[in-house]
Every structure is written in C-alpha cells, then in structure tokens.
C-alpha cells in the first residue's frame, strides 16, 4: 500500500501495527472508541480496519492518491471506525479525555482508547490532557504510547529528553504499565486488565520500521517511502 502510493511515514506505522491489531482484534468491544493521536500512522490504522473488513483491498489501493478517502492522515469524516481526523500532534489525547469524560457524565460504559507517539509528548497539550485525565479519574480511558525512540529529525533522547517519559507520567495519579509493544501476549495482557479507578497509560517499547530489515530503528523510516529494493526484500522475507 505504501509502496504503491510512494508514501512516507511507514516507519511509525510499522511500530504501532502490532498494538493496533491487538486492540481491535483482542481488546475493543463493538461500541468502544479509538483515537489515533499519532495521525501520521494512518496507514497502520487503515490496514487494521481492512483486517476487520471495514475497508476493502480497493480502498487500500487508493491510499494517498487523488480523490481518496484514505489520506495520509485520518480524515474528519467518511471512514467507518475513524471518529476524529488527526494529524497535528497533541490533539488526540485531549479529544480522548473529552470523549471519556463525556461518556462518564452520561453514564455510558464505552471505553476510549488513544494511541499516541513518544515524540508527541513534547507538545504541551498532551500534559494538559494528562493532568485532566488524572484529576478526573478517567478510568474509561486507556492510552497506548508507541515509544519507538525516534522522531522527525533525531532520536527522542537527542532532541528533547524527558529522562524517561514513563517516569514522568507515573508521577501523576494514573496507572502506568511498560511493555514490549511487539509482544502480542504482553499487549493483550496489559490492555485487558480489569478496569481500575484511574486512567490507564501503557508505554509500548517498539521499533520504528519494525519488520523491514535495513529500515528498523532508522530515523529515515519516518519520512521516506521504501525503495524498490527494500520493498522486494521485505516481500520475499514475508514469503
């Protein structure tokens, strides 16, 4: 899909594909809601929705092309299962806290899931959302952080180290878990724990570009489309 469209952002898609698939196939109930705060991983979301038959093969082929519903970042409308258009980092967590609070006020039991990136936590609004989630005890909110250690123009520790994001989040009155974001069993176990009285944050340690040799753990996997060579190598590795 990415190769056909010559589209970038593949690295960040591959780091969160496992957790998205686990969420949708093993954790979320029909009425639960997901906000992809790291909107640039739309490709991973579309692929996940395709795996649930919410998008067709033909839909995926239109990715990034003219007149598509499948833009490089999720659209505000038009795709079943995509409730918010995102793409500017730092919005999704706030959207999710609002959803969760609104559901609580109305006594509804739907759960809200939010997938964000580690670099995204450099946006001040994420901390506004964290404070709110903790203070309001949004126990119907689960936030998964795709922590692949890389961002737009460097490693997260090189650009704006938080000397561990997870420690900083843990200082708030929320639940925190840290797991291998590519281990399906660990993902399922962490996400499916019984609900507590607090918002839940799960730091998922991941590898950007996971699954494509020569792409894994590299910053260029954020932006650059894969080359013909990389594509062929990856496809034969899959076979």
């Amino acid at each position: 899909m990415h190769f056909e469209a010559n589209a970038g952002h593949l690295g960040g898609n591959l780091s969160c594909l496992d957790l998205l698939l686990t969420l949708y196939h093993c954790s979320m109930d029909a009425q639960d809601l997901l906000v992809l705060s790291k909107g640039h991983s739309a490709g991973a979301l579309y692929t996940t929705l395709w795996s649930l038959d919410l998008l067709t093969d033909e839909d995926l082929q239109t990715f990034h092309k003219d007149d598509t519903r499948l833009a490089g970042h999720p659209p505000a409308k038009g795709i079943d299962g995509v409730i918010f258009g995102t793409g500017s980092l730092g919005h999704g967590l706030s959207l999710s806290t609002g959803l969760a609070k609104g559901l609580q006020i109305q006594g509804k039991s739907d759960h809200v899931y939010c997938v964000c990136s580690d670099g995204e936590w450099q946006e001040g609004s994420t901390w506004e959302a964290l404070i709110f989630a903790a203070h309001q005890k949004l126990n119907n909110l689960t936030v998964l952080i795709d922590a692949n250690g890389l961002q737009g123009f460097g490693g997260t520790d090189d650009v704006a180290s938080m000397q561990d994001l997870q420690d900083k989040i843990a200082a708030f009155d929320v639940e925190l878990d840290v797991i291998d974001g590519h281990d399906h069993a660990a993902l399922e176990a962490s996400i499916n724990r019984p609900v507590s009285d607090r918002a839940r944050f799960i730091v998922c340690k991941t590898i950007k570009g996971k699954g494509i040799e020569d792409y894994e753990g590299k910053m260029m996997s954020h932006y650059l489309p894969i080359s013909r060579e990389q594509y062929d190598t990856a496809m034969s590795a899959l076979k």
């Binding site: 505000a76 409308k77 409730i83 918010f84 258009g85 995102t86 793409g87 500017s88 730092g90 919005h91 706030s94 959207l95 999710s96 806290t97 609002g98 959803l99 969760a100 609070k101 609104g102 559901l103 006020i105 109305q106 509804k108 001040g124 609004s125 506004e128 959302a129 404070i131 709110f132």
Partner: protein, 309 residues
C-alpha cells in the same frame, strides 16, 4: 453582558441535560449561578485552553453540548488550532464564548485585548460568529445556539444599560435599530447602541444597524439600500484585515454592487507601551463616540457638497 449570559446559561443548564459548561478557570463572581445550576456538568478545565477546546469536541462527539468559556483572547488565540481542527473541520456542536472582546479589558494591557479574534475565526469552516449588540438579546441567542448543530463563537462585550431600550423585539443577525435615513452606519456588536444614541443626540442624518453576526448573509433591506446608492460607514472593534467591512466590500464587489461610498473605522492604533480604559483604547482608533460623530458629519458634508455639484 456577562450577567445576562450567566442567567441564560443557568436556565439552559437546568432545562437541557446534555449541556456542559467548561471554563478555563475564569468566571469568578459571575458564573457561580451556572455552576450551581449544572453541578457536575460545570467543569473548571483549569488554565489549559487547548485541552478545553479539544475535550469539548470529544464531549460533543460523545453526545453532549459543550460551551467553552474564557476571556476572548484566551478563548481564541491559544487554542486556535484546536478550534480549527477539532471543532470546525469536524463541524462539532461546540460554542466557544469569549468574554470581553475588543478593548473591554482595556487597562489590563494588550494581552487581554481581542481585536483580531472574529476575523481570524471567520477563515474557518462551519463557524457561526455572533457579536451581540444588546444584553437583552442574549437569552434568544443562547436558545438559538443551544439548538444549533454546529460550531459557534460568541463574543460578549460591555452592554450599555441606558441604551438597551433600543434593542428591537426580534433578534436578527443584522438589526436596524433606528429610523431610516441617508447614511447607513453598520456597527458590529455592543458599540451599536451608544453610537445610535450619539447620532440621535446630534440629530445626524444616519441610520444605525446593529451587526450582531458580521459574517451572516447581508440583510435584504440593507443590501437593497446599498444597491440603491445609500452610503455606508462600518464601525467595528477589530483590525481591518478580517473585518466585517473588508468582507462586506468583497461580497458586494462579487455581486457587482458598487456602494456609492464605503468607509470603515477599525481598531488601528496599537501602542504596546501604553494602555488605558476601553474608552481610551477606542479613542486611539477613532472608535469613541465623539470621533465617530465627526466622521459621520464629514461624510454627510462631503455628500451634500457632491450632490449639489
């Protein structure tokens, strides 16, 4: 207008269970009745406007009808991207309330002025923008917004109690508030009534229109007057770029309506090193009543000289 607003929201909160009120830590000594009326549906979101707006969009998605409140500059400038992406582009039923638009918080200094707000917001899709002229219209406006299934911005200002009698019984986006005369004076928001009083006091040949919704379709009577050659003066507490006047000019041009005269008085003198009351700040831009009367007299004199010629 804050007290009227507080009363209207308290009533709405009691009658409409889906209403939620979010404040960015403001409203002391004004919004307590709203808090009492709404209980857990009144949420102080703290000093966090970006989260307030996005969370409101989330709440709207969940089925509630959120109102977000702060002073105008804080309600608009800091969370502009959130208003754009999360509220407007999603066409969410969220009303953003900015108290003290224009120079209402004059002596507080430039960070507390809002003279670029509705122009910047008017670039966004789906947003209904209301700058009420009269406090007595607030209940009607609140009711309309409560039924409005989309985004809105409500810029509240300082109403003039002695001029409230000029409020027409029926609220309209563009309300003519005086008898018909030669010059059409279009005033955005709460300055309309004091301008009308000044014009009446000086017995000037001018009609005053309260422009409550600067980006609504032009009132048909007003459009017809302009099309028939009536000269127009626009007055607003907003900079020229993004103003009602600028947008009006383009719209008229696109409809091939050439006004015989179109002048505008906008907020245009900003002195970062000086501050003062609302009156002082308005006067710097020629938006005080005395300057406006002079501007009108000048236009009328010039017109009568031209007519004679």
């Amino acid at each position: 207008m804050r007290n009227e607003f507080s009363r209207a929201l308290s009533a709405l909160g009691k009658s409409e269970p889906k209403t939620v009120f979010l404040t960015g830590d403001l409203g002391f000594n004004a919004l307590e009745p709203v808090r009492e009326a709404m209980g857990e549906r009144f949420i102080n979101m703290g000093v966090a406007e970006q989260n307030m707006i996005s969370a409101a969009a989330g709440m709207a998605k969940s089925g509630l009808k959120p109102w977000c409140y702060s002073i105008a500059p804080f309600a608009v400038y800091r969370p502009f991207e959130q208003i754009r992406n999360d509220v407007c582009y999603h066409n969410m039923a969220v009303t953003v309330v900015g108290n003290g638009g224009g120079f209402a918080y004059g002596s507080m200094g430039f960070t507390h002025h809002a003279i670029e707000d509705y122009g910047a917001l008017a670039t966004l899709p789906n947003l209904r923008i209301i700058v009420p002229a009269f406090a007595s219209h607030i209940p009607e406006i609140v009711n309309q917004l409560s039924d409005h299934d989309g985004p809105a911005y409500l810029r509240l200002g300082r109403a003039v109690a002695s001029a409230e009698h000029m409020a027409p019984d029926q609220y309209k986006p563009h309300n003519r508030i005086t008898e018909l005369a030669s010059l059409q004076v279009l005033v955005v928001g709460p300055m309309a009534a004091p301008v009308a009083l000044a014009i009446q006091s000086e017995k000037l040949d001018a009609t005053v229109w309260a422009i409550n919704e600067p980006f609504a379709e032009l009132d048909s009577e007003l459009k017809s007057l302009i099309d028939s050659g009536a000269p127009v003066l626009v007055i607003e507490e907003h900079v020229q770029v993004g103003s009602f006047a600028a947008n009006l000019a383009i719209n008229l041009a696109n409809q091939e309506i050439s006004p015989s005269l179109l002048h505008s008085i906008c907020a245009n003198r900003i002195l970062p090193e000086r501050s003062g009351s609302e009156e002082y700040m308005r006067a710097l831009s020629g938006l005080d009543e005395r300057s406006i009367v002079k501007s009108i007299e000048k236009i009328l004199t010039k017109r009568s000289t031209t007519d004679v010629a």
